[in-house]
């Protein structure tokens, strides 16, 4: 996107010839830096945590709970999970953590998400750091060139995110068992998994690509009343896309952390019935 850094005393951007001669890069007096700093800190915390957990290849299953980072488990080196998402389509040759096989899809979905793009362009790349605050880059080509041209693949990651959300829903159903796999039980973990899956679905369906696919691409809503209704519903969710992006990110990490605490014996799952 942007390359190089503006040299000191440059005459580009807001200091271009012809524009009002104001030396300051910006004149904002509010705490404009707080939002990008908080965003960057939040995203960085998740990246560090999820990288550690994805590469750990351990403590991701505590019957009946499986960490969302490891579901579905696509390699033979997975822990056996009764009725769980053990689909060994990659066989025995895969020696790394099985989480890496599946996380690429939700990662790609969030990485190309229109909200997260705004968040990391502002938070990490300062392009721009905040509105009307000059960015430090000498040139800018936006999403017109490789690699950022690949952001246009967002809808394919959305398609991939749907079955992943479906599998996580299945995992949530499996949490209505106890540690001996008997049905009709629930614990604190069940509640956490239920909240997580609700947020995952809300975030996935509030996606801008989903909004476009269900109805946004139409020219005449009146000829497609069902799709218009769907578009309206997705639009309502879409208005909260940022909130859902953050809450589902936090909930998926908390879900994994909960399983980790159970698997390591740090904590016992309180049972409701």
């Amino acid at each position: 996107m942007a390359t190089g850094t503006e040299p000191p005393g440059s005459t580009t951007g807001v200091r271009s010839p012809g524009r009002a001669a104001i030396a300051a890069r910006h004149l904002r007096t509010d705490r404009w830096w707080l939002s990008p700093a908080a965003t960057a800190a939040g995203l960085l915390a998740f990246v560090v945590y999820s990288t550690w957990r994805a590469f750990a290849n351990a403590d991701y299953y505590a019957a009946p709970y499986v960490s969302p980072f490891y579901s579905p488990c696509l390699a033979e080196n997975c822990v056996p999970m009764e009725d769980g998402p053990n689909w060994e389509i990659f066989g025995s040759w895969w020696g790394l953590s099985p989480a890496l096989l599946i996380l690429v899809f939700p990662l790609g979905f969030r990485l190309t998400c229109y909200y997260y793009r705004k968040a990391y362009y502002r938070g990490f790349w300062a392009s721009p750091p905040a509105c009307a605050v000059a960015e430090p880059h000498a040139s800018y080509s936006g999403e017109t060139r490789f690699p950022l041209l690949l952001q246009n693949l967002h809808r394919y990651f959305f398609y991939a995110a749907l079955p992943v959300a479906g599998i996580l829903t299945y995992d949530t159903v499996l949490t209505f068992r106890n540690a001996d796999y008997a049905w009709g039980h629930a614990g604190l973990g069940t509640l956490i998994f239920l909240v997580n899956i609700a947020l995952i679905w809300a975030y996935t369906l509030s996606c801008h690509s989903c909004r476009h696919i269900v109805g946004g691409r139409l020219k005449h809503f009146s000829k497609h009343p069902v799709r218009y209704r769907l578009w309206t519903w997705v639009g309502r969710l879409n208005a909260r896309h940022m909130l859902l992006a953050w809450s589902s990110l936090i909930s998926v990490a908390l879900c994994d952390l909960y399983v980790y605490l159970l698997a390591t014996g740090t904590f016992d799952d309180p049972r409701f019935f």
Partner: protein, 257 residues
């Protein structure tokens, strides 16, 4: 009614240079920044240049930057500032300055001319247009635009990169493309005009990195990014980057030929 003295710092100058000049000016309850600028003109600086018209947030003339944020002078209440705060008023910093708070916004009119107009549908005369509300309401949101050009001013693509002005139409005019592409009676496609392709290739939609500053500053609260720019990006993907759609279109074309 209470009054107090506010400290203002106003940019004075022209294309050859200028500086921020300090003033102390009386403020009355209920006033907006434009009222105070007018009092400055009336009492201390009769030659202060400021563009204004309706004083009601509907003409889009008094766009400027207040404490570094693009805003309408007439819609910024003095009550949002602390009484001891220094209030800095400058012209919009993305456009060439004419004098004091007045900028040359002709870039926007040049860009407006580059957007092909509404293409009337064949066989429907003036006065015969009929549209369902649900079909036209998306475009109607964009018609609220008062062309204050604050979105153009704040967009970093041109604000921070003068060299992009040739290739990038800016949020206001990409929203205009979206308005027409979503218009139920626009017959551009039948006339051979592909607005989706031109949005990307001629008006620079790909430069937009959807950081939403245009939406943040819009005084009409138009959801420029969510309702115009992102849907337009998705429509471009339909046309240019989606192999499944491309395959479907190719098969359909073969069937019809």
């Amino acid at each position: 009614m209470s009054t107090y003295d506010a400290r203002f710092r106003v940019w004075r100058g022209d294309v050859d240079g200028g500086e921020l000049t300090d003033y102390t000016v009386e403020v009355h309850d209920g006033e907006v920044v434009l009222d105070v600028v007018h009092r400055l003109q009336a009492t201390q600086t009769p030659d202060l240049a400021v563009r204004w018209n309706c004083k009601a947030g509907k003409c889009g003339s008094c766009s400027a930057e207040i404490n570094g944020r693009p805003r309408l002078l007439c819609m910024t209440r003095m009550s949002v500032f602390a009484r001891d705060e220094v209030i800095t008023v400058t012209p919009m910093r993305a456009f060439p300055v004419v004098r004091d708070l007045v900028t040359d916004v002709s870039f926007n009119y040049a860009k407006a001319r580059e957007i092909p107009a509404f293409v009337p549908p064949a066989g429907v005369g003036p006065g015969e247009y009929r549209m369902r509300q649900e079909d036209v309401e998306r475009s109607q949101e964009f018609r609220k635009c008062i062309e204050c050009f604050l979105c153009q001013d704040t967009c970093h693509v041109v604000r921070d990169h003068e060299e992009n002005k040739g290739a990038f139409a800016g949020p206001r005019f990409l929203m205009r493309v979206a308005e027409l592409d979503m218009h139920p009676l626009d017959a551009a496609e039948e006339a051979g005009l592909d607005r989706r392709r031109t949005a990307q290739e001629e008006h620079g939609l790909g430069y937009c990195n959807i950081t939403k500053c245009c939406t943040e500053v819009c005084p009409e609260s138009i959801h420029i990014t969510d309702n115009a720019l992102i849907p337009m990006k998705e429509r471009v993907v339909d046309r240019k980057y989606d192999p499944l759609v491309w395959l479907g279109n190719t098969i359909r074309r073969r069937k019809t030929t």
